[in-house]
Amino acid sequence: MTTKVQPQLALQTPASNRAPLAFGWISSVLIAFPMLQLTGLLLLGGPEALKSFTRLRLDATLTVWLGLNGVFLAMLRSGRTNAYRRVLFVLIALSFVLTFIPNLLETRDHVAFTAGDMADCRIPFCHMVIPMVLIPAAFTKTIIFPGSLLTGFASIGSMVVLWLAGSLTLGRGWCSWVCFFGGMDEGCSHLLNRPVIKTVDRRWTYLPLAVLLMIMLVSAATLSPTYCEWLCPFKSVTEFESVTSTRVFIQTVLFASLFIGLVVVLPIVTRKRVQCALFCLMGAFQGWTNMLNIHEIRMNRDACTDCGRCVTQCPTFSLTSESVAAGGALTSCTKCGHCVDACPRNAVSFHVKGTKLFASPRLARVLFLYPAFLFLAAIGGGMMVGALLRIIRLVTTGSLI
């Protein structure tokens, strides 16, 4: 079974497509107003928090806050989701790298971590580790990661709480709205207008489940985070162990190769989020949370003409002709909204489980967008502020740190 990517279908969404999900100016402003307040609370804090802001930090935060809310307003006004989300998602990924590495340099003087940093349990935790720590945590009540449970930058406790809340409210929407790595391959997947590799065998979509199963079992058996140690492509742009042995050298070569292959080259040539869709164990794990989550993507079979545009444009292989015929997406759907934007017949929409199908697609979309955008703004907004401050520092002093 194969999916043929048809570049001729990758057209601009027709203007008529926007109408059903778009709001008028007044409605858009009214719906966006609570978001302005909520994101203001999350990014700026209360009056006490504001006192600790420097003038520059306040300006940067206000800029990001207004920018984010401008994008949210545009989402509501235009009825388009993915086109705006994607821009923010890529910016957040870039901001993450731009803040994470200078932060490491400031806090511990080096990017590559040492055996000492591990012995001191000072390695920042990320959500990608979560599937690996669950089995050992259940059996031994210990976390197999050399990080901090509660203190310091990116503590294990805070990341797990965010993941639980994200899974509950967004399901695998986490992968398109929260994950600060996903924007890297999403950005690369849009560098070419047309895919070079037009056919991807569907059997590859089973790979992430195999990776997840293997890594979870090996991590439990060895009591070490195997994916982090050997297979995480994002080590290349975050942190990795100092090369002091042949083993670490091989690991470093693997990280770089996987990053170049899965995050840069393959997304460029396929126009798909290859790392997210085919190799990310966290993504595969999040698919299960989609079953619990209240939001889903549904196809109106009465309006659908089976043109296949949604199937060919889905960046994570989450739609097949069979799933479309059944009226929904696969559990791997990241709720990016690409198919909703792309459908020329407005047959694809966000849906709240349990409610009448296609009764109120605008309401269902807004009810998904609110928690999703709050997550994006709260996690990504801070990174964007940090990146903006780093850029200003680079311009004014010639140094990022």
Binding site: C121, T142, L150, V160, T169, L223, V352, K356, P371
Partner: protein
């Protein structure tokens, strides 16, 4: 029935908004609640485990940890023990210490570590000692890990 399902669907969907706000505003408290509630700890394979004994040398202390053999089920054939030195006033540049693993007055191994040249020598006394696993100079202490055979295996 359809109306009830719709009501619950939209209600749950709407409740996600205050949930997200509550999570971000109280992130520190929720994290502490999760960690303390589940009583999870960092795996001793990374943290070194719990301190078994502290030897006070006046200007510095030696902490000898419990050997780590923990596996996912039961114990492993091999593991390690961590020993670290931290200052009260200062830690000598040349460490030379016989480490009593079991606390029975019999040294398990001897560590000679010149911290200026980073030259380190491990001398096994106990047959359980396999060799040096790692040695690191941290901001507040010097840490050595020594590979061990599990005597009770």
């Amino acid at each position: 029935m359809t109306a009830i399902k719709s009501f619950f669907g939209y209600s749950i969907s709407f409740l996600a908004i205050p949930l997200v706000m509550a999570v971000f505003i109280g992130l520190g408290s929720w994290s502490a609640l999760l960690v303390h509630g589940t009583r999870v700890r960092i795996s001793p394979w990374f943290s070194g485990g719990d301190v078994a004994r502290i030897v006070d040398h006046g200007t510095y202390v030696t902490r000898i940890y419990h050997p780590v053999f923990a596996g996912i089920f039961g114990q492993r054939r091999e593991g390690f023990v961590q020993v670290d030195w931290s200052k009260k006033a200062f830690v000598p540049a040349q460490i030379d210490e016989r480490v009593d693993l079991a606390g029975e007055g019999t040294p398990g191994f001897r560590i000679q570590w010149n911290t200026l040249t980073d030259a380190i020598t491990l001398t096994s006394v106990s047959p359980a000692v396999i060799g040096l696993r790692s040695h690191d100079t941290l901001s507040d202490r010097l840490v050595v890990r020594v590979n061990l055979r599990n005597a009770s295996y």
